[in-house]
């Protein structure tokens, strides 16, 4: 027997580590997933992410083609490049999935999110809120003497920025749709 003897206390690594051969840096990717609009399809996709420990930053879903019964799921996710590749491969092999597009690497794309902001306030604060909303091109969709509801469409960053501005001006409640994204050009 000439087995290799090991030193006690030698370093040891988890066999389950997904060793990041393509770098440790986390990246954010926007994926467009075209699926059959069948019962449970969203649960399947979400279950894949939770079951395998992937992140979901944002997720939107709606039927986009009634005729052929297709839905489009837009997922913003973060992970190392190898994890992102795994996510795409795992999504692609699901039975109700037609196609997976990584909009982040497939060329320029546009991303938009819609948000509603309820802002409470009187006097100067109220005026300041309205002025700021104009700068951001947010629309007033509801108003009372002591409140506004603003509607804003834009990139997630723009919506974050608007929320930050509104915080001291009486921001009470935010509703966001999550990101919808599409490739530029044709």
């Amino acid at each position: 027997m000439n087995a290799v003897k090991l030193k006690k206390g030698a370093s040891s690594f988890s066999a389950y580590d997904l060793k990041n051969f393509s770098g440790d840096t986390e990246e954010t990717h926007t994926l467009a997933v075209l699926v059959d609009n069948e019962a449970g399809v969203l649960a399947r996709v979400i279950g894949l992410f939770s079951g395998r420990g992937y992140n979901i930053e944002s997720l939107t879903v709606a039927e986009v083609d009634h005729e052929s019964n297709r839905s489009r799921i837009t997922i913003v996710t973060t992970g190392t490049p190898s994890v992102i590749e795994q996510i795409k491969a795992q999504l692609s092999r699901m039975v109700p999935v037609y196609d997976v597009h990584d909009l982040t690497v497939e060329g320029p794309s546009v991303e938009r999110e819609l948000a509603l902001f309820k802002v409470l306030g009187k006097g100067d604060k109220r005026l300041e809120a309205l002025r700021t909303a104009e700068i951001f091109r947010a629309r007033v969709v509801d108003s009372t003497l002591e409140s506004f509801v603003f509607e804003l469409t834009g990139t997630p960053e723009k919506i974050d920025a608007f929320a930050e501005m509104m915080q001291p001006l009486g921001l009470e409640e935010v509703a966001r749709t999550g990101v919808a994204a599409i490739a530029r050009g044709h």
Binding site: M1, K5, F13, S14, F21, G40, A43, Q86
Partner: protein, 584 residues
């Protein structure tokens, strides 16, 4: 051909049209209409198991040993939840299986009705796909699609949940040929450029090794033939995972034995030192790789797999080839031959000489005893006495499973049924019954440990009822042997709950079921006792009393590399540090 019939009749007709001859199942309230339809026909044989988990493992044994999908029928609620372990097992080992579950009537779904469970919700993560059929008109097409999904691409289990009112109502039956099978069509042909890149690596390799897995078996007998041809023509050494045993014959000249945690010294060192690794239908499981960052550091790696998500999941490979093993090997041989069948013959010969030195270590040697039966010896004798027979082997999970993989030789694919990925104790007995039902005239042996075997022992009743003469070869050490081994090596010899103080008398148990019991305690009696088992025409429980504290070697401890194997007891002092203890 389209005609009106009840949902229950549609189920039976669809199974017939899919070529199903056997189903494994257990009736209950929500599947009574289907059982009524089964009662009124003679084309499909129904095997009544004793527990739904048994039905799933029996179907796995049937599927693995025939290459056809296994079919299971269970009722709603507990019937379906009992099938979950078998579904997960089949998913991990890529076994094609169709489970049809009854469901409460569709108008009662969501009302917490008697024996209601959210079956599609519960089984979503443990099936390849599943369906709830709410309309009898959709039933035939859904069942045909279920067979299509289970058997195409990477095979796996699927489930069709059928509410009771859908079984009673009438609908149109459509044949498989007319059914819309959806858009699920995984590619089977590999990319020619990638295959050519692999051929170039084969031509240049000095220390190549084939690392093959269950994907070769799943691809069909033709894939195993092509693999044998390729190995012979290139003279490259070959090793296999637990799931792939039999694709290349154990008696073949280039065979290194199984690799991995309990693989042979020569197989693991060949994997560690090779300069070209050709992975065929395997998935770099953690039982195979050991420490990831020390895995085969000097090799170029090629990976043939039908599932794109297997590529680069654990190990980064240089040449990925997505496709069915059989199709890819066929193209690979064609291209390699057309380029003049080149290999570095002299270098490969030197590589074989190196491997022969490792082989000379004789890593499977063990200290035999004339007083007590060593488990390794029991399997060596079983191998010697059954060699050349028309033999199928199933196993439970644990030390006995590893020893069976080490000491038994498999010459053909589909002869070895074991729970690899999930490691399901209780798999072997029902799997042996399913295998025997598919091959009534063959010898079917379940290599078992007493603890695993007890987990589904009720299936002895099934074996007796259907006169399935399965041989239950129990290596009885009165311990949970693999747990005990890890407690010895990793947990300071504190044997927490890893033995049983109240085991049944297995001989009396066999007799109680209506089978034959044999007990053997003396190595001198072993051959005669095994022959008595083989010669008995009926189910046998063989209580083989073995050494209680035997450990399974060689062993790559968790978190270690392929060249850090433990070869025997003398190597085990202080080798596993606390970092390794957290791994399984």
């Amino acid at each position: 051909m389209s005609r009106q019939m009840t949902g229950a009749d549609i189920v039976v007709q669809a199974l017939k049209d899919q070529g199903v001859d056997t189903v494994f199942g257990y009736p209950g309230g929500a599947v009574l209409p289907i059982y009524d339809a089964i009662f009124q026909q003679n084309d499909i044989r129904h095997i009544l198991v004793r527990h739904e988990q048994g039905a799933t493992h029996a179907a796995e044994g049937y599927a693995r040993s025939t290459g056809k999908p296994g079919v299971v029928i269970v009722t709603s609620g507990p019937g379906a939840t009992n099938a979950v372990t078998g579904l997960t097992d089949a998913l991990m080992d890529s076994i094609p299986m169709i489970v049809l579950s009854g469901q409460v009537p569709s108008f009662m779904i969501g009302s917490d009705a008697f024996q209601e469970a959210d079956t599609v919700g519960i089984t979503r993560p443990c099936t390849k796909h599943n369906w709830l059929v709410k309309d009898t008109e959709m039933l035939a097409e859904t069942i045909h699609e279920a067979f299509h999904v289970a058997t195409n691409g990477r095979p796996g289990p699927v489930l069709v949940d059928i509410p009771k009112d859908v079984q009673f109502a009438s609908g149109n039956y459509i044949s498989p040929a007319k059914a819309d099978l959806g858009h699920y069509q995984p590619r089977v042909k590999g990319d020619k450029d990638a295959i050519t890149a692999l051929v170039e690596l084969i031509e240049k390799a000095k220390k190549p090794v084939f690392y093959t897995g269950g994907g070769v078996i799943n691809s069909g007998k033709g894939a195993s033939q092509l693999l044998r041809e390729l190995v012979k023509a290139t003279n490259f050494p070959i090793t296999s995972t637990l799931m792939g045993l039999g694709a290349y014959p154990a008696s073949g000249d280039n065979w290194l034995g199984m690799l991995g945690m309990h693989g042979t010294y020569e197989a693991n060192l060949a994997m560690h030192d090779c300069d070209l690794m050709i992975c065929v239908g395997a998935r770099f499981d953690d039982r195979i790789t050991g420490r990831i960052d020390a895995f085969s550091p000097k090799s170029k790696k090629a990976h043939i797999d039908i599932d794109p998500s297997s590529i680069n999941k654990v190990i980064h490979v240089d040449v990925p080839i997505i496709g069915d093993v059989g199709h890819v090997l066929e193209d690979l041989l064609k291209i390699w031959k057309s380029r003049g069948r080149k290999t570095k013959t002299a270098d490969v010969k030197k590589w074989h000489a190196q491997i022969d030195q490792w082989r000379a270590v004789d890593c499977l040697a063990f200290k035999n005893s004339d007083k007590i039966i060593k488990p390794q010896y029991a399997l060596q004798r079983l191998e010697a006495l059954t060699k050349g027979m028309d033999r199928y082997i199933t196993t439970e999970v644990g030390q006995h499973q590893m020893w069976a993989a080490q000491y038994l030789g498999f010459e053909e694919p589909n002869r070895w049924m074991t729970s690899g990925g999930l490691g399901t104790m209780g798999y072997g007995l029902p799997a042996s019954v399913g295998t025997q039902i598919a091959h009534p005239d063959s010898l079917v042996i379940n290599i078992a440990g007493e603890a695993s075997w007890l987990m589904n022992m009720q299936e002895m009743g099934t074996a007796i009822q259907y006169r399935a003469p399965v041989k239950q070869f129990i290596l009885n050490n009165e311990r949970l042997g693999m747990v005990r081994q890890w407690q010895e090596l990793l947990h300071g010899e504190r044997y927490s709950h890893s033995w049983s103080e109240a085991l049944p008398d297995f001989v009396k148990l066999a007799e109680a079921f209506g089978g034959k019991g044999i007990r053997c305690t003396d190595p001198a009696d072993l051959d005669d006792a095994i022959m008595e088992m083989l010669n008995y025409d009926g189910p046998v429980i063989f209580d083989c009393r073995v050494e209680k504290h035997e450990n399974c070697f060689p062993m790559i401890p968790s978190g270690k590399a392929h060249n850090e194997m433990l070869m025997g007891e003398e190597d085990t002092q202080g080798v596993i540090d606390s970092g390794g203890a957290v791994l399984v």
